[in-house]
Every structure is written in C-alpha cells, then in structure tokens.
C-alpha cells in the first residue's frame, strides 16, 4: 500500500479505469509539468477492483468533455486548502469539436480543412458518435 501526500490546491482525477491512466497523463501533458504530479496505477478500488489515479498539485484547466470521452467513469475532485470542494462526475459529452476526426473520405471535412470536426452523441450505451456533416458513426473508443 502506497501513501501519497495530500495536495493543498489542485485536482485529483479518480476512478480512471486501470490501464487508461497513462493516456490521460500524456494527453494532459503532465510529463513536462513544472509542478508535482502523482500518477498511481492499479490502486485498489471497492467499486472498480483496480483503478488509476492522477493527483495534480496545481489548478489547471481541464477539458471535461475530452476527459469524459477518454473515460466517462472518471471523477474529478477539485481540492482547495487540502479539502475536496467539488466533485465532478463525468459522462460522455453530448458534442465534441475537433476531438474525434471523421474518417469518411466522402465527408466535406476530408477536403475543406478549415471545417471543424463536430460529433454528436448518438448512442451513450454503445459510446457512438455521429458526424454532424455526413452522419458517419464513430466510437468514443476511436479517440482512446
């Protein structure tokens, strides 16, 4: 059992599915962070069995939509003065822009490079998203 010091002001990203943590760590660019970051893999969890946790000793801006797409079961805890002041449960976002990329060669986004790639959640249970332009389906997993 590892003990990691409490952080005073920052963010704890909890309930990450075991094995997904590194992707989130890398996506947040935490490898080059000039502040303290703790990255725990395979922590024991009553609810999940095993989970990954990222503790960030700094208040950074998070794109919760993208985080939700990466792992919709994540909990984000906002820490201020050593206490949790806000718990945010994530879900698959209803709309994402320039996160999922449309791979349909017939889609207008394939040729008009300035067009934003916009996807709308179509089936939350299956994690399926629909391209706003061509209706092509993509899975949230395609981003992960």
């Amino acid at each position: 059992m590892l003990n990691i010091t409490k952080i005073q002001n920052g963010i704890v990203i909890d309930h990450i599915h075991a094995g997904q943590g590194l992707k989130i760590f890398n996506w947040l660019g935490l490898g080059a962070a000039p502040y303290t970051v703790a990255f725990v893999v395979n922590a024991e969890s009553v609810r999940m069995g095993l989970k990954d946790i990222i503790k960030i000793d700094n208040e950074i801006a998070l794109d919760l939509a993208v985080l939700g797409l990466l792992d919709p079961d994540i909990t984000v805890n906002i820490i201020q003065h050593g206490d949790i002041t806000r718990k945010i449960s994530l879900a698959l976002p209803e709309r994402v822009e320039n996160v999922l990329i449309c791979r349909n060669p017939r889609c207008i986004t394939a040729t008009e490079q300035y067009a934003p790639h916009i996807f709308h959640l179509s089936d939350a249970a299956m994690g399926l998203y629909r391209c706003e332009y061509c209706d092509e389906m993509r899975g949230a997993g395609d981003f992960r």
Partner: protein
Amino acid sequence: MLKGRHLIEPRDFDVQELDRLFALAQRVEEDEAYLRDSCRGRILATLFFEPSTRTRLSFEAAMMRLGGSCVGFAEPGSSSTAKGESLADTVRTVGCYADMIAMRSPKEGAALLASRYSTVPVVNAGDGGHHHPTQTLTDLHTIRSLRGSVAGLTIGFCGDLKFGRTVHSLVKGLSLYPGNRMVFISPPELRVPEYLTRDLLSRDGGEYMETDTLEDVIGDLDVLYVTRVQKERFFNEEDYVRLKDSYVLTKEKLRRAKESLIIMHPLPRVNEIAMEVDADPRAAYFRQAKYGMYIRMALIASILGAA
C-alpha cells in the same frame, strides 16, 4: 415562415411547413399564373460541383417560371474550386451576387458547411450519397398528390439503399408522418445505412423491415420507390458491375402488386425499371418530375418571401 431559411436536410422543415409547401405547389399546378413573376428581379445561383441535369434544370425552370433569373455553373471545372478556392469563400462571394443558392456537391455535408458561411439561403440539391431534400419534397408531394396522404402507408425502397441519397432523405421525410411502414429491399452490400435504422427508425419507433427479395413483399406495398445503383458512388468497378443489375422491375413482377400501388423513381433510370412498365398506370416517375418543378417553385418563392 420559410423566408430566409436554409434547407439542408428533410427534417429542417416541420410537418406544418411541409404541408404549406405542398398546398402551395398544388395551387401552382392548378393555376400556372399563380406566383408567376413573384420573383422578378431575384437571382438564384445554381452551384453544381457534381454534374446533374435533372435537378439543375428543375431548379432553373422553377425560378424562371417565377420570373427570376439564374446564374451558376454545372460542373466544378468551370468554378473557382478548380483554382483551389474553399467552399466557404465560394458561397460568401456568390452571396454577393445572388439572393439564394442551390448547390450540389459530391461531398457529404457540403451544403451544411456552406450554410454556415453563406449570407443568403442555401438549399441542398444533393450532397454525395447523403441527402437530397428537394427530391424528398418532390417525392412527398407526389405521394400526397397521388395517394391523398403521406401517412399510414407501406413504402418499399428497392435498389441501392446504401448510397442512394434520395432514399435516405425520403426515409427521414416519411418518418415525420405517423403510421408509415418502410420495407428496405436491397442486396446485403447495399443496405440502408445504420444511422438511419439506429437513430431514426429505432429511436422514433418507426416500423421497418429489410429483405433482399422484391417478389416476397411487392404485394404489401402502397408505394414502390426504385433507385438506380449509382456507378459514381463506388470506389471499386467490380462491386458496381456485380450489383448493378440486382433488381429489375418488370410487368411480370408487378402482377402481384396492388392496383393502387404507385411506382416512383428519382430518375435518371438505367435499366432497373423495364420500359414495358412505363405504360402501366401505376408508373408515376414522369409525373414525379413535374411535381418536382412545382414544389421547387413553391420552395423558392417561400424562401425568398415571395409567396
């Protein structure tokens, strides 16, 4: 009110707005002087990034019958796109010259993207294998005119249901009306896209079935909508050759059909409806083309605030 609105996909208009358009088109059909010159001095730009004869002529004939004028191009080679201009810049520029744009593109979602940059209304005249809402207006108006209603019908779609944009749009249009049952008849490779069955029909409780045998279901149908297997939608010539003659509607096959059936086709036809069928009173596809011009007159006049 449709004044100033874009038409990108069939569900952009609600049932009341559609019904007003159908009533207007019917009035134009009954009295050809009605709406004549209502668009005098107005200009429609027809931007066809993909060759089309029928749809473009239908739009242009509709605008001319309303007293307006048309500018545009019939293929991308004669547009600035050939010089590398973006679609956004093209529509912003054309919006300086014209009051309304009707555009066709081989790219899916092109009209939607254009509408985001255009200062004038954009009507989607077909975007790849995706949508063709004015054909849907034509089809719904044809069904309404010949069957008296667009609700409570069993509609068979036969042929290329994967790439056939007229099918995709009509399915969306028909799903706005209650009690319609859809029968999709195609080889497995050309089934209707998943987004339609998953998003639209399943979610909204629409009744549908899929089969690969026309003969088994033709007797149940009130409307048979036949489409061409479109060579231009295939990346692979072999697949096209293998599938192009999947279904051919003949007099023999029609023996099992209802007397009240109407046979529709967005045209152009190749060989999927035998010419012997043309003389059958149930063949409605050439009347359908005329309904298309009337509904486009109603649409243009409504969007330009002239009706």
